[in-house]
């Protein structure tokens, strides 16, 4: 039995790797993507283009302006000299925000009356707008603290001291790169498995396989092996690059990490084989893989939190293996979580793997065309 499975697995590997282009397609694009997306996927704004419209010119206005100039995440694009320019620059996306200081700014401040500063933000990208809003508020709060302290004014002595666990500088790259490990593992595993049965069905060789002494279970194992091996290797490669190239800390243990990887790849192989055995042609299989892949990514919490989704959609995410895998990856990478915290993420993966693999095995014989 072992020899038969081995023979089938070897044949599957040969099918995948005998063509040079298929070989390249499995290895090279995911690497390029990791590198490009690793740098691209980030919500951090480190280059906020802004313009100042200073109608005051007093020393307090200059002091405030200097704080924006001195901030590493802001970049001055130029100075606005007339009202009409504000809309022009924001509309054309030349600047993300305009700071307008009124003509009585310094006088008001010195007189002890509130001095308004108008902040106009481009809201087309609501997330950036919100981050900019927070950054601006922080800079102005700093200015106020120094201004009042220098004049011996004291309010309520309550200050916030904020710290972030696991990621002290709040680099969203750590979050996304660890997520990309999941994304790329899924894409490669699905591509390898989703086409394997469908290709044979289209060519008619699957029927031949069914009349050989191989039992469905043996076919299943033989078909699943390449996906499993390639998926785990791919994940290892991506993890290595995440740690050594992007410098994402791997706090947790490799044992937990690999248990997660193995369970997830098994689930992905199961879904891929199930889609493949449902499809009658290669094109249907590709479409099926795609129709699974896109929602699986969107609903996984890769880019946007699951908690923000409507209740009904959140229930839908429970069937998405990537959802559990991302929690495992991020918890192991950044938080150093052990088995006891992740067991709730691992058993659903095991359930998905068993169900989909069983369904695929059953479909081998029961979906004949």
């Amino acid at each position: 039995m072992l020899a038969r499975i081995l023979a089938l697995a070897v044949k599957e590997f040969l099918v995948l790797f005998k063509d040079k282009r298929s070989r390249l397609v499995v290895v090279v694009p995911p690497l390029i993507q990791l590198l490009v997306f690793g740098y691209a996927a980030s919500f951090d704004l480190n280059d906020i283009a802004y313009a100042l419209y200073d109608r005051d010119g007093g020393y307090a206005a200059r002091d405030l302006a200097a704080r924006f100039e001195g901030s590493p995440s802001f970049r001055s694009v130029g100075r606005i000299t007339r009202q009409g320019q504000i809309a022009e620059w924001i509309d054309a996306r030349k600047v993300l925000l305009v700071i307008q200081i009124g003509p009585r700014f310094t006088a008001d401040l010195l007189a002890g009356t509130p001095a308004p500063v108008q902040i106009l933000i481009d809201g087309r990208n609501s997330n950036s707008a919100q981050i900019v809003q927070n950054d601006v508020s922080r800079i102005i709060a700093d200015f106020n603290r120094d201004w009042t302290a220098a004049r011996g004014l004291q309010g309520m002595p309550v200050n916030l001291i904020t710290r972030a666990w696991y990621n002290p500088n709040l680099e969203s790259r750590w979050f996304f790169v660890s997520g990309l490990v999941g994304l790329l593992t899924l894409v490669v595993t699905m591509m390898v498995t989703a086409l394997s049965v469908a290709r044979e069905r289209e060519q008619g060789t699957f029927d031949q396989l069914l009349v050989t002494p191989l039992r469905p279970l043996e076919i299943l194992i033989g078909k699943a092996t390449p996906g499993l091996v390639i998926g785990v290797l791919e994940a290892s490669l991506v993890v290595t690059i995440a740690v050594f190239w992007f410098g994402v800390p791997l706090v947790g243990g490799l044992g937990v990490l690999y248990t997660g990887i193995l369970l997830f790849v098994l689930a992905a192989v199961g879904v891929g084989l199930m889609i493949s055995s449902l499809a009658a042609t290669l094109q249907q299989a590709l479409l099926g893989a795609f129709l699974f892949l896109v929602p699986a990514v969107i609903l996984s919490g890769f880019a946007t939190p699951i908690a923000n989704m409507p209740e009904a959609v959140q229930i839908l995410t429970l069937g998405d293996p990537l959802r559990y895998y991302l929690v495992i990856l991020r918890s192991v990478f950044l938080e150093g979580a052990g088995f006891e915290l992740l067991i709730d993420q691992m058993w659903p993966l095991a359930v998905i793997a068993v169900l989909t693999l069983a369904a695929a095995g059953w479909l081998f014989r029961h979906r004949m065309t």
Partner: protein, 375 residues
Amino acid sequence: MRTRPRTLRLRGLLRKESLQILRDPSSLAIAFVLPVFLLLLFGYGVSLDSKHVPIGLVIEQPSAEAASFVGAFRQSVYFVPRLYPSLQDGRAALRNHDVNGIVVLDGDFAQRLKGDRDAPIQVVVSGTDANSARLLEGYVQGVWSSWLQREAQARRIPLPVAVEPVIRIWFNPELASRNYLVPGLLVVNMTLVGALLTALVFAREWERGTLEALMVTPVTIEEILIGKLLPYFVLGMGGMVLSVIMALFLFEVPMRGSFWVLAVCSTLFLLAALGMGLLISIVTRNQFVAGMIAILATFLPAFLLSGFLFDIGSMPPLVQAITHIVAARYFVAILQSLFLAGDIWTLILPNAAALALMAAFFLGLSRRLLRKRLE
């Protein structure tokens, strides 16, 4: 009147392609079911607006001050506060992902406040999801400063006044992330539909050898290209119209620009997307490789490099340079402005020109390669 053989041939080809599309449910599915399905999924699934965030309030010693602080969090729409009696419990909750952050009032908070001594409030957030953590910090700060103001008024402590930021958000004052995500989603959607449609269909023809068979007939390469592309173009535009209708009426995204600009830009973009799919299929001539490349070269770049979700200006220069060859980038810039801001020509013209250039490049290159392959 006699129809010229040229138009006759073209008509024949168009008829054949259309029949093929109508008889094969999978291309119709790509064009119509896929966009609707994706847009529903994206529109409801992708949101960056966090509300009702679970947050732990560690109150070591109950007091009137602490109670009013908790009240301020209860009133905020952003938070669902949970109370913990000790720092240890709060930390455990944070570690178990029960809460996304904890706010700690030390045991002597009330005493220090009464004695006019420094009474710091500690905030610890879980930084794993850095973006959410940063937004959470902003919300906590908001609750804290309005609480501070109310307390100061109640105690008749003068708040030292200084600069008051008056913040106004243009185009999207309520900061609904859906308004900016849905236009981007239309782009991701159309990228998929355009490239997938052509890449797969052509690759299959190559594998079956039906394209070569077509070549022995008197049709020219241009006729083949038009005959193949036109039906898919119509399909893709149909999908686009459907998506726009959904965006406007289901997701209630405002439309401040004009529809004809939208139509022209969509045409340019769809031509670029179809051209790219065509090119992939001509280069690969293999369904597996074409499918792989179509997915890798379309969905993920459109998702990650188009500026639809992640700010292009913050990417490293090399990656920014790469985004210039992603057609979706230009279309995203156009659509976000068209929907939320209006017809801003300084923005639309250069982006539309870039799209036209890409369409011409992909289609021209496809034609050349096709000729080479067949001769």
